[in-house]
């Protein structure tokens, strides 16, 4: 997959993984792995970016005698997902056009 596209998709995926409940790094990776290729080292910069963009909040909670960072989606983050879904309609139209042209003129 194109690297720019994947980057944008990953951000939306990570935000979506936080919709149901606040989550932590390892769980996000595990939740997303069936759908998209993601590792901890790729997740880390994404979380940092989303945090500085105000799309998610970070807080620490004690877990088994150590601190674990939890991530919570913000209203801005939800807006990003909505934006993505809206854009996707346009993308789909383009996709269908390309597919049609290809099948007619192959």
């Amino acid at each position: 997959m194109d690297i720019q596209l994947k980057r944008g998709m990953l951000e939306i995926c990570v935000l979506s993984a936080l919709l149901r409940e606040d989550s932590y790094g390892y769980k996000i990776v595990k939740d997303l792995q069936p759908y998209i290729e993601i590792s901890e080292s790729t997740l880390y910069p994404i979380l940092r970016r989303l945090e500085s963009a105000g799309a998610l909040n970070v807080y620490s909670t004690e877990h088994n005698g150590r601190l674990r960072k939890y991530y919570a989606i913000t209203e801005h983050g939800r807006g990003r997902i909505r934006e993505f879904l809206n854009e996707w309609n346009g993308m789909l139209a383009i996709y269908n056009y390309i597919k049609e042209e290809m099948s007619e003129n192959e």
Binding site: Y26, S39, E40, S41, R66, L67
Partner: protein, 196 residues
Amino acid sequence: MNKADFLTELQRRIAEYPSEETKRSVEYYTEMLDDRIEEGMTEEEAVASLGSLTDIAEQIKCEIPLTTLVKHKAKEKTKSKKLSPWVILMLILGFPLWGPLLLACFCVFFSLYMLIWVFDIVLWSGTVALGAVVLNGLIGCIVNLVRLSVPSACFYLGSAMLALGLCIFWTWGTKVITKGIVYGTKRCFIQFKKSL
């Protein structure tokens, strides 16, 4: 590689970045390892599953915003110029010694500088003296003309003319020297300011 080794190595590789970034990264990877170990992996397995350290360090570096990096470098620069607390303490404790020495040094330089100006004042008084001779010659000339002793009047006029010539020459030289002193003083001040 076990957890502690991995974290030490990671810290070493990203130590040059802002300490806040380093701290956050190490915290993040500590948490990742702990979560895996909690799930039943051994330390070695957990470390191996994170991928190569080089990639991880590279990722961290790429994602630090450029502005943060620049600020960090700028801060490092200003830090190196500041005096350490130890040096400041030594300066305070040593004041009874270096204070009077500095004062004495200043006094010596100040008196040498004054000497230059005294020399200049002497030159200017030469101008005044020659001016007085001119005035004297002219008065003498007029007085002798009134007395109708022409040769004496001529002598006074001649001496006045001679003194006037000398006076003009002398004043010109003195002016040049005074300008030189002022220029030198200015240059010294500029150099001093630059060195601060």
